[in-house]
């Protein structure tokens, strides 16, 4: 066989390998987008995952409708991919709101429900309180289940309307705030990013300053570098084990936002130290010498000359860190839990987007919903990737010429 043919065969194998790498990426992205895009909408982003049931207490009051029936029927506070309008809407004066009957069907369940499709100004629903006296913010997509103990189950819309209309005076309405969204996971993720950065960023930056500006090459630096490298190589499940033993049990912080954030902060340390170190190294020696020659102390030189020059590098470190927190799951599974709620305090649990995606895929077998969360995660990752590219391009200004 001639060399040329042989070379071409080998070349085509190389092309094939590259094509496989690229197509794997496209295939994964494509799969997640195609499977999940149907579920991504405003409600998905702004609703809680769990349905919330309220008993709303209010006074009935006759409120006439201020819009015409055409406009009323155009109010469709439901998603027509999963919910089909079967009856209504019909306006009910004594609660000042319109109700529709909707058949709801998704991956796991199928049911008929009565949904508030319009609320008139001054409606008694707007100042409804729960049993503790707190105001419930009833909105147009809430589900009505009963009024004064009379259940709406298996009734037609006309029957429901006549039941509601016949009530007067005190009303006790069972309403359900619809679930299925990821608002709480988005907020938990934000909290997690903020707290872990707040802890890891100063430690990482100061540590990097020590390594580049103070330490003389030798034992201590080698040990610190080795430790940072070791940390970077430890799998996240081992961090999870440590977080569980140390933060959750030994410090008695429970499975909580703070345990999760502190565990993630340790995971972030090597990332921040390495990027900051690289950034500090690009600042030319002449800058430091000039500053010292002007009579500035070492500290002044570091904070007024060196660090400002390294800002793009630190920004890159922050962006990489955010990516790490958003993508982290195994460590958080053990330290922050799988409860889909907005953590009320530092010591309450909450699941981030990735943990929630895992939980939904594994425990509920709902791949579509997991992919929908995946889309949100991938969008965040791509944005961070592009931003960090921009900041790291800015870093090389001293060496470009």
């Amino acid at each position: 066989m001639s060399r040329k043919i042989k070379d071409n065969i080998v070349k085509s194998i190389i092309y094939l390998a590259t094509a496989i790498t690229l197509s794997v990426l496209l295939f994964i992205l494509g799969f997640i987008f195609v499977k999940g895009i149907g579920l991504v909408n405003w409600d998905f982003l702004t609703r809680d995952y769990n349905e919330k049931v309220f008993y709303a207490f209010t006074q009935s009051e006759e409120i006439p409708m201020s819009i015409d029936t055409d406009t009323l029927s155009k109010n469709t506070p439901y998603d027509d991919r999963y919910e089909t309008l079967t009856e209504g809407p019909i306006y009910i004066e004594n609660i000042g709101a319109a109700v529709s009957k909707i058949s709801y069907k998704n991956y796991t369940s199928e049911k008929e429900q009565f949904v508030i499709s319009y609320i008139e100004k001054g409606s008694p629903l707007l100042n409804a309180k729960d049993s503790t006296g707190a105001t419930i913010n009833i909105k147009t997509d809430f589900i009505l289940e009963s009024i004064n103990g009379e259940s709406f189950e298996n009734l037609t819309l006309d029957e429901v309307v006549s039941i509601i209309s016949s009530q007067s005076g005190d009303l006790k309405i069972k309403v359900v705030q619809p679930g299925g969204g990821i608002k709480s996971n988005i907020i938990t993720t934000l909290y997690m990013v903020l707290i872990s950065l707040l802890v890891a960023l100063p430690i990482g930056i100061f540590g990097a300053i020590y390594l580049t500006e103070y330490a003389k090459p030798g034992r201590i630096v080698n040990i610190i570098r080795f430790a940072a490298e070791t940390l970077a190589g430890i799998p996240s499940i081992v961090f999870g084990l440590f977080g569980m033993a140390f933060f959750v049990v030994a410090l008695n912080l429970q499975i909580s936002l703070i345990s999760g954030s502190l565990t993630v902060a340790i995971i972030l340390l090597p990332v921040i130290i390495r990027s900051t170190e690289e950034a500090l190294k690009t600042v030319p020696m002449a800058f430091r010498e000039g500053s010292l020659a002007l009579g500035a102390t070492k500290l002044q030189t570091i904070f007024k000359v060196v660090l400002p020059c390294a800002v793009p590098g630190i920004a890159t470190a922050v962006l990489l860190s955010i990516g790490r927190v958003v993508g982290e799951s195994a460590a958080l599974l053990l330290t922050a839990g799988t409860v889909s709620q907005i953590p009320g305090t530092l010591f309450s649990p909450g699941s981030t987007l990735t943990v929630q995606a895992y939980y939904i895929a594994k425990e509920e077998g709902n791949i579509e919903l997991a992919c929908a969360i995946g889309i949100v995660i991938i969008v965040i990752v791509i944005v961070l990737n592009i931003l960090s590219r921009i900041t790291s391009d800015k870093l090389d200004v001293f060496n470009k010429k």
Binding site: I14, G207, G233, I234, I266, I273, A357, K362
Partner: protein, 293 residues
């Protein structure tokens, strides 16, 4: 004088604060090692479970007090080995394409794609595996489920791609231009130069990439957990067998385990930790060798 002294003291204090911050990394490694080993070795020290039964057992049944992880070690090793076998050649050839054959623009685009692949969280790889790979494996599998060693190998092979590609690519790019020119001058073709000169010269860097890939594969949890099946017993006998790697054993049961059961999950972590430490030391050695040569 007094002012200068105060300034000096302040400088010294800040330096010490910087040193403390730098030592947090060291302290973390020590604390992690201590806590994992302390909890993980406890059952063997206090004799609440025999070490040999733990290491050699092929059943994990907490309800009947059987905790054997041998079949998990085998599962972890098989899955990692398979992933390396499939992933590494593809990754190295991709790296060759980026640094030796592609124009700088195409190279940049592929590098961006590889970085993106590295940025995708592992859970999403798992969901992809569960949605695409597992059903496909089920079609060709003699068993009634698609979660298997094979599915795990595929998912892990994809996941190590970006690690190996980026490190191999860096070390190929670091091979001096003169090597290539010398090879061309001797009449070698491009392909011959790549495989006989460039790759051997970048060997140690590529090896580092491969070993980091092994580390990533053996430590991977969430993606694997969704596609491996997690059986409670049995050494895998075929690529269609279900496996339960060390990592998923911890993640699956840590949430509700207590007592000896919980401690033995830490022991599983100790075994995993030892694997990772061996890998870390090897990488460290390789990197030093490269600097030395």
């Amino acid at each position: 004088m007094e002012a200068i002294k105060r300034k000096k003291r302040k400088e010294k204090i800040v330096e010490i604060i910087f040193l403390i911050c730098a030592s947090v990394a060291v302290l973390s490694v020590l604390a992690i090692t201590f806590f994992v080993f302390y909890n993980g070795l406890a059952p063997f020290v206090t004799n609440s479970y025999p070490l040999w039964n733990f290491l050699s057992g092929v059943e994990w049944r907490p309800d009947s007090n059987l905790y054997g992880i041998f079949y998990m070690i085998v599962g972890s090793v098989f899955a990692t080995f398979g992933a390396i076998l499939i992933g590494v050649p593809i990754a190295i050839l991709t790296a060759v394409f980026i640094s030796e054959m592609a124009s700088s623009r195409i190279g940049k685009a592929i590098r961006f794609a590889v970085e993106l692949l590295a940025g995708i969280p592992s859970v999403l790889y798992g969901i992809f595996g569960l949605g695409i790979i597992v059903p496909y494996v089920l079609k060709i599998s003699p068993f009634a489920q698609g979660e298997s060693l094979l599915a795990t190998i595929f998912v892990l092979a994809i996941m190590i791609l970006p690690t190996v590609v980026s490190i191999a690519e860096t070390s190929i790019a670091a091979v001096p231009k003169e090597y290539r020119e010398g090879s061309y001058a001797l009449g070698a073709s491009k392909v011959q130069t790549i495989f006989r000169v460039v790759l051997p010269a970048g060997r140690s860097g590529i090896m580092t990439g491969v070993i980091l890939g092994i580390g990533r594969a053996i430590g991977e949890t969430m993606a694997v957990m969704l596609v491996c099946g997690n059986p409670i017993a049995g050494i895998p006998t075929s690529i269609f067998s279900q496996i339960r790697p060390l990592t998923t054993n911890i993640a699956l049961e840590m949430g509700y385990a207590s007592g000896v059961h919980q401690q033995l999950l830490y022991s599983t972590g100790v075994i995993l930790f030892i694997f990772i430490m061996i890998i870390n030391f090897t990488v460290n050695k390789l990197v030093k060798q490269k600097v030395g040569s």
